[in-house]
Amino acid sequence: MSLEFKKIRATLIVRVAGEMDMLIADKMRTEIDKRIDDKTIRNLVLNLERVPFIDSSGLGVVIGRYKRITAKQGRMFIVGARPQVEKILFFSGVNRLVPMYKNEQEVINI
């Protein structure tokens, strides 16, 4: 699993590559939280283009970050989820909390 970070003003973009399961949950949580706890960050965009698999441990990471971002009045988005990952996000209702977009550009345009 690897994470790539990009900051655009108050928004942090996190590009994830790899399968999101329990093995990587802790590392992902720590790495992302370290950055969103920064006062200059309000919003989070999670780019899942290169995530071929997610299970409930991976979903836990998503929901956890959502809670943290809303606690500081920010907004969170998911972009680029592949069909099999999208299915799990819909199935678990995550899409009702975190709006989903095709790619980073779509979010930047809103």
């Binding site: 093995l23 698999f53 409930s56 836990g60 956890g64 799990i88």
Partner: protein, 147 residues
Amino acid sequence: MNLRNYAKFEFFSIPENIAFARSCVGSFAAQLDCTLEDIEEIKLVVSEAVSNCIIHGYENNPTQMITVMVSIDTASVLEIVVEDRGKGIEDLPRAMEAAYSTDPTRMGLGFTFMKSFTDDMQVDTAPGQGTTVRLRRSFLKNEEALA
């Protein structure tokens, strides 16, 4: 019902083996006449069951062993059995409720996913004895079923 294929594997209860287990079961299931989407769903249920053994059954003790048995019978039913000899479950009906977890950091969706993406789930557990989850999913094609 006669078995067409059978495999059993045992491995250390470490998080690295969640991906290993789902890839093994996925490759076993690929013998069936099934879609990539089927395989993805099978990998998901294996991921949930094996994660539970590690987190709940063995409470992250990496020196324990997890057993997975997979079989395909002559009626194209895939059976996956995931077993730990760990802590067991006190209140099984409660544990199987959607969104219920004894761990506040978790989603409580493991059993829900296992149930949703299989045709049948049976859980055998006893406190202090361990937990066995038996999942079955049929891949019988309609033509075969009529034949």
